[in-house]
Protein backbone atom coordinates (compact mmCIF):
# COMPACT_ATOMS: atom_id res chain seq x y z
CA UNK A 1 0.00 0.00 0.00
CA UNK A 2 1.26 3.48 -0.82
CA UNK A 3 1.88 5.93 1.97
CA UNK A 4 -1.04 8.15 2.96
CA UNK A 5 -0.80 11.75 1.71
CA UNK A 6 -1.17 13.38 5.09
CA UNK A 7 0.29 12.67 8.49
CA UNK A 8 -2.33 12.60 11.24
CA UNK A 9 -1.40 16.13 12.19
CA UNK A 10 -1.72 17.36 8.60
CA UNK A 11 -5.03 15.57 8.16
CA UNK A 12 -6.39 17.39 11.21
CA UNK A 13 -5.21 20.75 9.92
CA UNK A 14 -6.66 20.06 6.48
CA UNK A 15 -10.06 18.95 7.79
CA UNK A 16 -10.35 21.82 10.29
CA UNK A 17 -9.11 24.35 7.75
CA UNK A 18 -11.62 23.33 5.10
CA UNK A 19 -14.45 23.25 7.65
CA UNK A 20 -13.61 26.81 8.71
CA UNK A 21 -13.36 28.01 5.10
CA UNK A 22 -16.76 26.59 4.24
CA UNK A 23 -18.38 28.77 6.92
CA UNK A 24 -17.26 31.84 4.92
CA UNK A 25 -19.54 31.07 1.97
CA UNK A 26 -23.20 30.34 1.32
CA UNK A 27 -23.88 26.62 1.99
CA UNK A 28 -24.73 25.89 -1.65
CA UNK A 29 -21.49 27.54 -2.81
CA UNK A 30 -18.86 25.20 -1.39
CA UNK A 31 -16.64 25.42 -4.46
CA UNK A 32 -16.18 29.15 -3.78
CA UNK A 33 -13.57 28.07 -1.24
CA UNK A 34 -11.34 26.74 -4.05
CA UNK A 35 -8.52 29.31 -3.86
CA UNK A 36 -8.05 29.17 -0.10
CA UNK A 37 -8.48 25.38 -0.11
CA UNK A 38 -5.69 24.96 -2.67
CA UNK A 39 -3.54 27.38 -0.66
CA UNK A 40 -4.15 25.24 2.42
CA UNK A 41 -3.15 22.05 0.61
CA UNK A 42 -0.01 23.72 -0.74
CA UNK A 43 0.91 25.07 2.70
CA UNK A 44 0.78 21.50 4.06
CA UNK A 45 2.57 19.65 1.25
CA UNK A 46 4.65 22.35 -0.47
CA UNK A 47 2.78 21.72 -3.72
CA UNK A 48 -0.51 20.33 -5.02
CA UNK A 49 -0.09 16.55 -5.30
CA UNK A 50 -2.75 14.74 -7.37
CA UNK A 51 -4.03 12.77 -4.36
CA UNK A 52 -4.58 16.09 -2.57
CA UNK A 53 -6.53 17.49 -5.49
CA UNK A 54 -8.93 14.54 -5.17
CA UNK A 55 -9.50 15.43 -1.53
CA UNK A 56 -10.10 19.13 -2.28
CA UNK A 57 -12.60 18.20 -5.01
CA UNK A 58 -14.49 15.90 -2.64
CA UNK A 59 -14.58 18.43 0.19
CA UNK A 60 -15.85 21.20 -2.09
CA UNK A 61 -18.37 18.95 -3.89
CA UNK A 62 -16.77 19.62 -7.25
CA UNK A 63 -14.67 17.79 -9.83
CA UNK A 64 -10.92 17.30 -9.97
CA UNK A 65 -10.94 18.90 -13.42
CA UNK A 66 -12.34 22.11 -11.89
CA UNK A 67 -9.57 22.04 -9.28
CA UNK A 68 -6.92 21.76 -11.98
CA UNK A 69 -8.58 24.44 -14.07
CA UNK A 70 -8.06 26.84 -11.18
CA UNK A 71 -4.67 25.49 -10.06
CA UNK A 72 -3.14 25.90 -13.52
CA UNK A 73 -4.60 29.39 -14.07
CA UNK A 74 -2.83 31.00 -11.11
CA UNK A 75 0.97 31.10 -11.08
CA UNK A 76 1.37 30.71 -7.32
CA UNK A 77 0.00 27.17 -7.30
CA UNK A 78 2.53 24.42 -7.97
CA UNK A 79 1.08 21.41 -9.74
CA UNK A 80 4.68 20.13 -10.08
CA UNK A 81 6.89 19.85 -7.04
CA UNK A 82 9.09 22.98 -6.92
CA UNK A 83 12.65 23.30 -5.63
CA UNK A 84 13.14 23.97 -1.94
CA UNK A 85 13.29 27.71 -2.49
CA UNK A 86 11.03 29.37 -5.04
CA UNK A 87 12.74 32.64 -5.97
CA UNK A 88 10.48 35.08 -7.80
CA UNK A 89 12.37 38.06 -9.25
CA UNK A 90 10.40 41.05 -10.46
CA UNK A 91 11.74 42.24 -13.80
CA UNK A 92 8.86 44.55 -14.66
CA UNK A 93 9.56 48.13 -15.68
CA UNK A 94 9.89 49.85 -12.28
CA UNK A 95 12.33 47.19 -11.12
CA UNK A 96 14.12 47.04 -14.50
CA UNK A 97 14.80 50.78 -14.21
CA UNK A 98 16.54 49.99 -10.89
CA UNK A 99 18.70 47.10 -12.04
CA UNK A 100 16.41 44.05 -12.08
CA UNK A 101 17.93 42.53 -15.22
CA UNK A 102 21.34 42.66 -13.57
CA UNK A 103 19.85 41.18 -10.40
CA UNK A 104 18.43 38.26 -12.37
CA UNK A 105 21.76 37.60 -14.10
CA UNK A 106 23.54 37.82 -10.77
CA UNK A 107 21.20 35.19 -9.31
CA UNK A 108 21.57 32.96 -12.37
CA UNK A 109 25.33 33.09 -11.89
CA UNK A 110 25.21 32.42 -8.16
CA UNK A 111 22.70 29.59 -8.46
CA UNK A 112 24.20 28.13 -11.59
CA UNK A 113 20.90 27.88 -13.43
CA UNK A 114 18.83 29.77 -15.98
CA UNK A 115 15.71 31.66 -14.94
CA UNK A 116 12.68 29.44 -15.47
CA UNK A 117 14.56 26.32 -14.36
CA UNK A 118 13.19 24.28 -11.51
CA UNK A 119 16.21 22.89 -9.68
CA UNK A 120 16.31 20.78 -6.55
CA UNK A 121 17.32 23.66 -4.29
CA UNK A 122 16.17 26.71 -6.27
CA UNK A 123 13.27 27.34 -8.59
CA UNK A 124 14.32 30.69 -10.07
CA UNK A 125 11.60 32.55 -11.97
CA UNK A 126 10.93 35.97 -13.36
CA UNK A 127 7.74 37.37 -11.96
CA UNK A 128 5.55 40.39 -12.51
CA UNK A 129 5.26 43.60 -10.49
CA UNK A 130 5.28 42.85 -6.74
CA UNK A 131 4.34 46.36 -5.55
CA UNK A 132 7.87 47.34 -4.58
CA UNK A 133 8.11 49.94 -7.31
CA UNK A 134 9.40 52.64 -4.96
CA UNK A 135 11.70 50.17 -3.19
CA UNK A 136 13.07 48.35 -6.24
CA UNK A 137 14.59 45.97 -7.12
CA UNK A 138 12.93 43.16 -5.24
CA UNK A 139 12.34 39.44 -5.07
CA UNK A 140 10.39 36.93 -3.02
CA UNK A 141 11.73 33.67 -1.64
CA UNK A 142 8.93 31.29 -0.74
CA UNK A 143 6.70 34.39 -0.50
CA UNK A 144 9.02 36.25 1.90
CA UNK A 145 9.56 39.68 0.41
CA UNK A 146 12.93 41.47 0.05
CA UNK A 147 13.33 45.03 -1.28
CA UNK A 148 16.00 47.59 -2.21
CA UNK A 149 18.28 44.71 -3.17
CA UNK A 150 22.01 45.12 -3.73
CA UNK A 151 24.71 42.54 -4.41
CA UNK A 152 25.73 42.61 -0.76
CA UNK A 153 22.13 42.14 0.41
CA UNK A 154 21.54 39.26 -2.00
CA UNK A 155 24.73 37.55 -0.85
CA UNK A 156 23.64 37.82 2.79
CA UNK A 157 20.14 36.50 2.06
CA UNK A 158 21.34 33.51 0.03
CA UNK A 159 23.99 32.66 2.59
CA UNK A 160 21.26 31.91 5.12
CA UNK A 161 19.54 29.39 2.85
CA UNK A 162 20.77 25.85 3.42
Amino acid sequence: MSEPLFTQEEQKKFDAGIAELLTHYPPERKSAAMLPALRLLQSLKGWLPPEGMLLVAAKLSTTVAKCYEVATFYVMYHTQKPGKYVVDVCTNLSCALRGAEGLLHYLEGKMGLKAGTNGEKFFLRETECLASCGTAPCFQINEDHYENLTRAKVDAILEKLS
Partner: protein, 445 residues
Amino acid sequence: MSVLAEKVITRDWAKPNQNTLAGYKASGGYAQLKKALTLAPAEITDTVKKSGLRGRGGAGFPTGLKWSFVPSLEKNTKPRYLAINADESEPGTAKDRFILENDPHLMLEGIGIACYALGAHTCYIYARGEFKYPSEVLERAIAEAYADGIFGKTTMGKDFELNVYQVRGAGAYICGEETALLESLEGKKGWPRLKPPFPAVVGLFGCPTVVNNVETIASLPRIFEKGPEWFMNMGLGKSGGTRLVTLSGAVNRPGTYEVAMNTSLRELIYEQEYGQGLPEGRTVKAVIPGGSSAPVLTEAEIDVKLEFDAFKPLQSMAGSGGIMVMDDKTCLVRSLWRIIRFYAEESCGQCTPCREGQPWMTRLLRKIEEGRGEMADLEQLLNVAVSIAPWPPMGLGTTICALGDSGALPVQSFVQKFRKEFEDHITHKRCTFGDKPWGAFGDFT
Protein backbone atom coordinates in the same frame (compact mmCIF):
# COMPACT_ATOMS: atom_id res chain seq x y z
CA MET B 1 4.23 75.07 -5.79
CA SER B 2 1.45 72.99 -4.35
CA VAL B 3 1.44 72.10 -0.69
CA LEU B 4 -0.43 69.24 0.89
CA ALA B 5 -2.38 71.11 3.58
CA GLU B 6 -3.24 68.05 5.59
CA LYS B 7 -2.63 64.36 5.23
CA VAL B 8 -5.72 62.21 4.85
CA ILE B 9 -4.80 58.55 4.38
CA THR B 10 -1.27 58.60 5.82
CA ARG B 11 -2.05 60.98 8.70
CA ASP B 12 -1.45 58.54 11.54
CA TRP B 13 1.08 56.18 10.01
CA ALA B 14 3.96 57.43 12.13
CA LYS B 15 2.07 56.83 15.38
CA PRO B 16 3.11 53.84 17.48
CA ASN B 17 1.20 50.58 16.95
CA GLN B 18 -1.08 52.22 14.42
CA ASN B 19 -1.59 48.86 12.74
CA THR B 20 -3.10 47.34 15.90
CA LEU B 21 -6.58 47.94 17.27
CA ALA B 22 -5.22 49.58 20.43
CA GLY B 23 -3.07 51.97 18.42
CA TYR B 24 -5.87 52.73 15.99
CA LYS B 25 -8.32 53.46 18.80
CA ALA B 26 -5.75 55.68 20.51
CA SER B 27 -5.85 57.93 17.45
CA GLY B 28 -9.65 58.08 17.54
CA GLY B 29 -10.39 54.97 15.54
CA TYR B 30 -13.88 53.50 15.04
CA ALA B 31 -15.65 56.66 16.30
CA GLN B 32 -16.79 57.32 12.74
CA LEU B 33 -18.31 53.87 12.29
CA LYS B 34 -20.11 54.34 15.60
CA LYS B 35 -21.44 57.65 14.32
CA ALA B 36 -22.40 56.27 10.90
CA LEU B 37 -24.43 53.51 12.54
CA THR B 38 -26.76 56.20 13.98
CA LEU B 39 -27.49 57.56 10.49
CA ALA B 40 -29.88 56.26 7.87
CA PRO B 41 -28.02 54.28 5.15
CA ALA B 42 -29.19 56.75 2.48
CA GLU B 43 -27.63 59.63 4.45
CA ILE B 44 -24.28 57.85 4.34
CA THR B 45 -24.44 57.40 0.58
CA ASP B 46 -25.39 61.09 0.21
CA THR B 47 -22.42 62.12 2.31
CA VAL B 48 -20.09 60.04 0.16
CA LYS B 49 -21.58 61.59 -2.99
CA LYS B 50 -21.05 65.09 -1.59
CA SER B 51 -17.44 64.34 -0.68
CA GLY B 52 -16.37 63.88 -4.30
CA LEU B 53 -14.73 60.55 -3.45
CA ARG B 54 -13.68 58.74 -6.62
CA GLY B 55 -12.40 55.20 -7.07
CA ARG B 56 -8.67 54.92 -6.47
CA GLY B 57 -8.24 51.57 -8.21
CA GLY B 58 -7.85 53.05 -11.66
CA ALA B 59 -11.12 54.22 -13.14
CA GLY B 60 -11.80 57.21 -10.87
CA PHE B 61 -15.51 56.49 -10.88
CA PRO B 62 -17.55 58.44 -8.27
CA THR B 63 -17.96 56.09 -5.29
CA GLY B 64 -21.32 57.33 -4.02
CA LEU B 65 -22.78 57.01 -7.50
CA LYS B 66 -21.48 53.45 -7.79
CA TRP B 67 -23.19 52.58 -4.50
CA SER B 68 -26.46 54.09 -5.69
CA PHE B 69 -26.63 51.57 -8.58
CA VAL B 70 -27.39 48.80 -6.07
CA PRO B 71 -31.15 48.18 -6.37
CA SER B 72 -33.37 48.73 -3.35
CA LEU B 73 -34.37 45.75 -1.22
CA GLU B 74 -37.94 46.13 -2.47
CA LYS B 75 -36.77 45.59 -6.03
CA ASN B 76 -34.17 42.93 -5.31
CA THR B 77 -34.37 40.85 -2.14
CA LYS B 78 -31.10 38.98 -2.63
CA PRO B 79 -28.27 39.48 -0.15
CA ARG B 80 -25.79 42.15 -1.12
CA TYR B 81 -22.02 42.02 -0.86
CA LEU B 82 -19.10 44.35 -0.56
CA ALA B 83 -15.85 43.16 -2.17
CA ILE B 84 -12.63 45.03 -1.51
CA ASN B 85 -10.11 45.01 -4.31
CA ALA B 86 -6.74 44.59 -2.59
CA ASP B 87 -5.28 42.78 -5.61
CA GLU B 88 -2.84 45.59 -6.27
CA SER B 89 -0.85 44.47 -9.30
CA GLU B 90 -0.82 47.19 -11.95
CA PRO B 91 2.89 47.61 -12.72
CA GLY B 92 4.23 50.71 -11.01
CA THR B 93 1.66 50.69 -8.22
CA ALA B 94 2.55 50.22 -4.57
CA LYS B 95 0.09 52.04 -2.33
CA ASP B 96 -2.69 49.73 -1.11
CA ARG B 97 -0.13 47.37 0.36
CA PHE B 98 1.07 50.21 2.61
CA ILE B 99 -2.46 50.91 3.85
CA LEU B 100 -2.79 47.23 4.78
CA GLU B 101 0.63 47.23 6.44
CA ASN B 102 0.40 50.54 8.28
CA ASP B 103 -3.28 51.19 9.00
CA PRO B 104 -5.49 48.14 8.30
CA HIS B 105 -8.19 49.28 10.72
CA LEU B 106 -8.67 52.47 8.71
CA MET B 107 -9.85 50.27 5.85
CA LEU B 108 -11.84 47.99 8.17
CA GLU B 109 -13.67 50.96 9.67
CA GLY B 110 -14.44 52.11 6.13
CA ILE B 111 -15.76 48.63 5.37
CA GLY B 112 -18.12 48.86 8.34
CA ILE B 113 -19.44 52.22 7.12
CA ALA B 114 -19.84 51.00 3.53
CA CYS B 115 -21.51 47.70 4.44
CA TYR B 116 -24.02 49.45 6.69
CA ALA B 117 -24.82 51.96 3.93
CA LEU B 118 -25.24 49.18 1.36
CA GLY B 119 -27.07 46.73 3.61
CA ALA B 120 -24.29 44.22 2.99
CA HIS B 121 -23.79 41.68 5.77
CA THR B 122 -20.74 40.07 4.20
CA CYS B 123 -17.53 41.64 2.94
CA TYR B 124 -14.71 39.79 1.19
CA ILE B 125 -11.32 41.45 0.99
CA TYR B 126 -9.55 40.02 -2.04
CA ALA B 127 -5.87 40.45 -1.22
CA ARG B 128 -3.10 39.83 -3.66
CA GLY B 129 -1.63 36.33 -3.24
CA GLU B 130 1.94 37.63 -3.10
CA PHE B 131 1.13 39.97 -0.19
CA LYS B 132 2.28 37.71 2.62
CA TYR B 133 3.14 40.35 5.20
CA PRO B 134 0.27 42.76 4.43
CA SER B 135 -2.13 39.81 4.63
CA GLU B 136 -0.78 38.76 8.00
CA VAL B 137 -1.24 42.27 9.40
CA LEU B 138 -4.75 42.41 7.96
CA GLU B 139 -5.72 38.98 9.29
CA ARG B 140 -4.65 40.02 12.77
CA ALA B 141 -6.61 43.26 12.48
CA ILE B 142 -9.76 41.41 11.40
CA ALA B 143 -9.42 39.03 14.36
CA GLU B 144 -9.00 42.02 16.71
CA ALA B 145 -12.13 43.64 15.30
CA TYR B 146 -14.17 40.47 15.83
CA ALA B 147 -12.85 40.02 19.37
CA ASP B 148 -13.76 43.61 20.17
CA GLY B 149 -17.35 43.23 18.92
CA ILE B 150 -16.83 45.55 15.98
CA PHE B 151 -17.74 42.78 13.53
CA GLY B 152 -19.82 39.67 14.09
CA LYS B 153 -23.46 39.08 15.04
CA THR B 154 -23.76 42.80 15.77
CA THR B 155 -21.74 45.78 14.56
CA MET B 156 -20.41 47.76 17.55
CA GLY B 157 -23.54 46.79 19.47
CA LYS B 158 -25.93 47.72 16.67
CA ASP B 159 -28.29 45.00 15.47
CA PHE B 160 -26.56 44.60 12.12
CA GLU B 161 -24.68 41.37 11.41
CA LEU B 162 -21.42 41.89 9.58
CA ASN B 163 -18.83 39.30 8.60
CA VAL B 164 -15.53 40.27 7.02
CA TYR B 165 -13.27 37.69 5.40
CA GLN B 166 -9.91 37.96 3.72
CA VAL B 167 -9.44 35.84 0.59
CA ARG B 168 -6.00 35.66 -0.97
CA GLY B 169 -5.45 35.55 -4.68
CA ALA B 170 -2.83 33.31 -6.23
CA GLY B 171 -0.94 35.32 -8.81
CA ALA B 172 -3.15 36.56 -11.62
CA TYR B 173 -3.14 40.23 -12.60
CA ILE B 174 -6.51 39.85 -14.31
CA CYS B 175 -8.20 39.30 -10.94
CA GLY B 176 -7.82 43.01 -10.25
CA GLU B 177 -10.47 43.53 -12.92
CA GLU B 178 -13.66 43.67 -10.91
CA THR B 179 -15.66 40.94 -12.63
CA ALA B 180 -12.64 38.62 -12.79
CA LEU B 181 -12.20 39.31 -9.08
CA LEU B 182 -15.78 38.15 -8.51
CA GLU B 183 -15.18 34.98 -10.54
CA SER B 184 -12.09 34.32 -8.46
CA LEU B 185 -14.04 34.90 -5.23
CA GLU B 186 -16.49 32.29 -6.50
CA GLY B 187 -13.59 29.85 -6.71
CA LYS B 188 -12.97 29.96 -10.44
CA LYS B 189 -10.26 31.04 -12.84
CA GLY B 190 -10.33 34.80 -13.34
CA TRP B 191 -12.19 35.27 -16.59
CA PRO B 192 -13.88 38.69 -16.79
CA ARG B 193 -17.62 38.83 -17.34
CA LEU B 194 -19.48 40.75 -20.00
CA LYS B 195 -21.07 43.96 -18.75
CA PRO B 196 -23.97 44.69 -18.45
CA PRO B 197 -25.23 43.41 -16.14
CA PHE B 198 -22.96 45.37 -13.84
CA PRO B 199 -21.87 43.91 -10.49
CA ALA B 200 -24.08 46.38 -8.62
CA VAL B 201 -27.04 44.37 -9.94
CA VAL B 202 -25.58 40.92 -10.70
CA GLY B 203 -22.30 40.46 -8.88
CA LEU B 204 -20.99 37.88 -6.45
CA PHE B 205 -23.11 34.67 -6.43
CA GLY B 206 -25.54 36.50 -8.71
CA CYS B 207 -26.27 39.09 -6.00
CA PRO B 208 -25.89 42.90 -5.96
CA THR B 209 -22.22 43.64 -5.22
CA VAL B 210 -20.07 46.72 -4.87
CA VAL B 211 -16.37 46.37 -5.58
CA ASN B 212 -14.22 49.16 -4.10
CA ASN B 213 -10.47 49.70 -3.90
CA VAL B 214 -8.59 49.72 -0.56
CA GLU B 215 -7.64 53.41 -0.68
CA THR B 216 -11.19 54.39 -1.63
CA ILE B 217 -12.69 52.60 1.35
CA ALA B 218 -9.95 53.83 3.70
CA SER B 219 -11.01 57.40 2.87
CA LEU B 220 -14.47 56.94 4.42
CA PRO B 221 -13.61 57.39 8.12
CA ARG B 222 -11.98 60.75 7.34
CA ILE B 223 -14.98 61.92 5.32
CA PHE B 224 -17.23 61.25 8.31
CA GLU B 225 -14.78 62.75 10.78
CA LYS B 226 -14.20 66.05 8.96
CA GLY B 227 -17.28 66.28 6.79
CA PRO B 228 -17.81 65.83 3.06
CA GLU B 229 -17.22 69.54 2.33
CA TRP B 230 -13.78 69.37 3.92
CA PHE B 231 -12.92 66.36 1.78
CA MET B 232 -14.26 67.96 -1.38
CA ASN B 233 -12.38 71.20 -0.70
CA MET B 234 -9.10 69.35 -0.23
CA GLY B 235 -9.38 68.13 -3.77
CA LEU B 236 -9.60 69.76 -7.17
CA GLY B 237 -12.47 70.02 -9.65
CA LYS B 238 -14.80 67.06 -9.23
CA SER B 239 -12.28 64.98 -7.28
CA GLY B 240 -12.29 65.12 -3.49
CA GLY B 241 -9.46 64.26 -1.11
CA THR B 242 -5.81 63.52 -1.76
CA ARG B 243 -4.05 60.76 -3.68
CA LEU B 244 -1.52 58.12 -2.79
CA VAL B 245 0.91 57.78 -5.66
CA THR B 246 3.95 55.63 -6.26
CA LEU B 247 6.94 57.26 -7.90
CA SER B 248 9.42 54.86 -9.48
CA GLY B 249 12.17 54.72 -12.06
CA ALA B 250 14.88 57.27 -12.76
CA VAL B 251 14.35 59.64 -9.83
CA ASN B 252 16.62 60.26 -6.87
CA ARG B 253 14.00 59.46 -4.28
CA PRO B 254 11.45 56.91 -5.46
CA GLY B 255 8.65 56.02 -3.05
CA THR B 256 4.98 56.18 -2.17
CA TYR B 257 3.70 59.67 -1.40
CA GLU B 258 0.40 61.24 -0.41
CA VAL B 259 -0.09 64.29 -2.61
CA ALA B 260 -2.64 67.03 -3.17
CA MET B 261 -4.78 66.70 -6.30
CA ASN B 262 -3.30 69.95 -7.59
CA THR B 263 0.27 68.69 -7.42
CA SER B 264 1.72 68.37 -10.90
CA LEU B 265 3.73 65.44 -12.18
CA ARG B 266 6.68 67.80 -12.57
CA GLU B 267 6.47 68.84 -8.91
CA LEU B 268 6.21 65.22 -7.82
CA ILE B 269 9.34 64.34 -9.77
CA TYR B 270 11.44 67.37 -8.75
CA GLU B 271 10.28 68.69 -5.36
CA GLN B 272 12.41 68.09 -2.28
CA GLU B 273 9.72 66.25 -0.30
CA TYR B 274 8.99 63.91 -3.20
CA GLY B 275 11.22 62.64 -5.99
CA GLN B 276 14.13 65.14 -5.69
CA GLY B 277 14.69 65.15 -9.41
CA LEU B 278 17.02 63.11 -11.58
CA PRO B 279 20.76 62.60 -11.21
CA GLU B 280 23.02 65.40 -12.46
CA GLY B 281 22.94 65.69 -16.22
CA ARG B 282 19.91 63.50 -16.76
CA THR B 283 16.60 64.72 -18.10
CA VAL B 284 13.09 63.31 -18.20
CA LYS B 285 12.27 61.63 -21.50
CA ALA B 286 9.00 59.84 -20.79
CA VAL B 287 6.62 59.38 -17.87
CA ILE B 288 3.91 56.78 -17.43
CA PRO B 289 1.40 58.52 -15.15
CA GLY B 290 -1.05 55.87 -13.91
CA GLY B 291 0.27 52.33 -14.01
CA SER B 292 1.80 50.75 -17.09
CA SER B 293 -1.48 50.64 -19.01
CA ALA B 294 -1.73 54.45 -19.02
CA PRO B 295 -0.60 56.11 -22.26
CA VAL B 296 2.89 57.57 -21.89
CA LEU B 297 3.56 61.30 -21.58
CA THR B 298 6.47 63.33 -22.95
CA GLU B 299 8.51 65.79 -20.88
CA ALA B 300 6.42 68.60 -22.37
CA GLU B 301 3.26 67.10 -20.87
CA ILE B 302 4.27 66.66 -17.23
CA ASP B 303 2.82 69.92 -15.92
CA VAL B 304 -0.47 68.03 -15.69
CA LYS B 305 -2.06 67.97 -12.22
CA LEU B 306 -2.53 64.62 -10.54
CA GLU B 307 -6.32 64.94 -10.56
CA PHE B 308 -8.42 62.39 -12.43
CA ASP B 309 -10.02 64.64 -15.06
CA ALA B 310 -6.80 66.57 -15.75
CA PHE B 311 -5.44 63.63 -17.75
CA LYS B 312 -8.37 63.52 -20.17
CA PRO B 313 -7.10 66.23 -22.56
CA LEU B 314 -3.82 64.29 -22.79
CA GLN B 315 -5.71 61.08 -23.65
CA SER B 316 -4.07 59.37 -20.69
CA MET B 317 -5.21 58.58 -17.17
CA ALA B 318 -4.47 59.01 -13.49
CA GLY B 319 -5.19 55.29 -13.14
CA SER B 320 -3.80 53.58 -10.08
CA GLY B 321 -1.21 56.26 -9.32
CA GLY B 322 1.78 54.27 -10.52
CA ILE B 323 4.14 56.88 -11.95
CA MET B 324 7.20 55.57 -13.81
CA VAL B 325 9.95 57.91 -14.95
CA MET B 326 12.30 57.16 -17.83
CA ASP B 327 15.34 59.40 -18.36
CA ASP B 328 17.09 60.39 -21.58
CA LYS B 329 19.38 57.34 -21.45
CA THR B 330 16.55 54.82 -21.11
CA CYS B 331 15.68 52.72 -24.16
CA LEU B 332 11.97 53.13 -24.79
CA VAL B 333 11.83 50.14 -27.15
CA ARG B 334 13.16 47.92 -24.38
CA SER B 335 10.83 49.57 -21.85
CA LEU B 336 7.78 49.09 -24.03
CA TRP B 337 8.78 45.50 -24.77
CA ARG B 338 8.88 44.77 -21.03
CA ILE B 339 5.48 46.37 -20.49
CA ILE B 340 3.83 44.44 -23.31
CA ARG B 341 5.46 41.17 -22.28
CA PHE B 342 3.58 41.64 -19.03
CA TYR B 343 0.20 41.97 -20.74
CA ALA B 344 1.00 38.96 -22.93
CA GLU B 345 1.82 36.95 -19.82
CA GLU B 346 -1.29 38.11 -17.97
CA SER B 347 -3.86 37.93 -20.77
CA CYS B 348 -6.48 35.51 -19.47
CA GLY B 349 -6.96 33.95 -22.89
CA GLN B 350 -10.64 34.63 -23.24
CA CYS B 351 -10.72 37.18 -26.10
CA THR B 352 -8.81 36.58 -29.33
CA PRO B 353 -7.49 40.15 -29.95
CA CYS B 354 -5.78 40.19 -26.54
CA ARG B 355 -4.74 36.53 -26.33
CA GLU B 356 -3.10 36.61 -29.78
CA GLY B 357 -2.28 40.31 -30.04
CA GLN B 358 -0.24 40.84 -26.88
CA PRO B 359 2.27 38.04 -27.59
CA TRP B 360 2.43 39.17 -31.22
CA MET B 361 3.29 42.75 -30.19
CA THR B 362 5.83 41.39 -27.71
CA ARG B 363 7.60 39.42 -30.45
CA LEU B 364 7.66 42.41 -32.82
CA LEU B 365 9.07 44.67 -30.11
CA ARG B 366 11.77 42.18 -29.23
CA LYS B 367 12.66 41.88 -32.89
CA ILE B 368 13.04 45.66 -33.21
CA GLU B 369 14.94 45.93 -29.91
CA GLU B 370 17.45 43.29 -31.03
CA GLY B 371 18.09 45.07 -34.31
CA ARG B 372 16.31 42.54 -36.50
CA GLY B 373 13.33 44.77 -37.24
CA GLU B 374 12.12 46.25 -40.50
CA MET B 375 9.97 49.32 -41.04
CA ALA B 376 7.09 47.01 -41.95
CA ASP B 377 7.29 45.56 -38.43
CA LEU B 378 6.57 48.97 -36.95
CA GLU B 379 3.43 49.26 -39.09
CA GLN B 380 2.45 45.72 -38.20
CA LEU B 381 2.91 46.54 -34.53
CA LEU B 382 0.59 49.52 -34.82
CA ASN B 383 -1.94 47.51 -36.82
CA VAL B 384 -2.14 44.84 -34.16
CA ALA B 385 -2.49 47.47 -31.42
CA VAL B 386 -5.24 49.31 -33.30
CA SER B 387 -7.10 46.03 -33.76
CA ILE B 388 -7.15 45.49 -30.01
CA ALA B 389 -8.01 49.07 -29.07
CA PRO B 390 -7.45 52.13 -31.26
CA TRP B 391 -6.04 55.23 -29.52
CA PRO B 392 -6.77 58.08 -29.15
CA PRO B 393 -9.38 58.41 -27.76
CA MET B 394 -9.43 55.92 -24.89
CA GLY B 395 -12.18 53.39 -24.39
CA LEU B 396 -12.60 51.85 -27.84
CA GLY B 397 -11.31 48.37 -26.98
CA THR B 398 -12.60 45.24 -28.72
CA THR B 399 -12.22 42.88 -25.76
CA ILE B 400 -14.47 41.99 -22.81
CA CYS B 401 -12.27 43.81 -20.30
CA ALA B 402 -9.69 46.58 -20.45
CA LEU B 403 -6.65 44.30 -20.38
CA GLY B 404 -6.66 44.41 -24.16
CA ASP B 405 -6.52 48.21 -24.11
CA SER B 406 -3.82 48.06 -21.45
CA GLY B 407 -1.33 46.68 -23.95
CA ALA B 408 -2.62 48.46 -27.03
CA LEU B 409 -2.51 51.97 -25.55
CA PRO B 410 1.14 51.93 -24.44
CA VAL B 411 2.18 50.62 -27.87
CA GLN B 412 0.37 53.37 -29.74
CA SER B 413 1.37 56.17 -27.38
CA PHE B 414 5.05 55.14 -27.27
CA VAL B 415 5.32 54.79 -31.05
CA GLN B 416 3.32 57.93 -31.83
CA LYS B 417 5.31 60.10 -29.42
CA PHE B 418 8.78 58.55 -29.79
CA ARG B 419 8.69 57.15 -33.30
CA LYS B 420 12.25 58.17 -34.13
CA GLU B 421 13.68 55.97 -31.40
CA PHE B 422 11.92 52.93 -32.87
CA GLU B 423 13.05 53.83 -36.39
CA ASP B 424 16.63 54.31 -35.19
CA HIS B 425 16.66 50.76 -33.85
CA ILE B 426 15.58 49.56 -37.28
CA THR B 427 17.96 51.66 -39.38
CA HIS B 428 20.98 51.05 -37.13
CA LYS B 429 20.07 47.37 -36.75
CA ARG B 430 20.77 47.42 -33.03
CA CYS B 431 19.62 48.88 -29.75
CA THR B 432 20.97 52.41 -29.84
CA PHE B 433 21.57 52.27 -26.07
CA GLY B 434 23.89 49.27 -26.35
CA ASP B 435 24.14 47.16 -23.23
CA LYS B 436 22.87 49.95 -20.98
CA PRO B 437 19.19 50.28 -21.88
CA TRP B 438 17.78 51.03 -18.42
CA GLY B 439 18.90 54.58 -17.69
CA ALA B 440 20.38 56.32 -14.67
CA PHE B 441 19.74 53.59 -12.09
CA GLY B 442 19.66 50.59 -14.41
CA ASP B 443 22.83 48.86 -13.17
CA PHE B 444 22.66 46.29 -10.41
CA THR B 445 25.35 47.07 -7.88
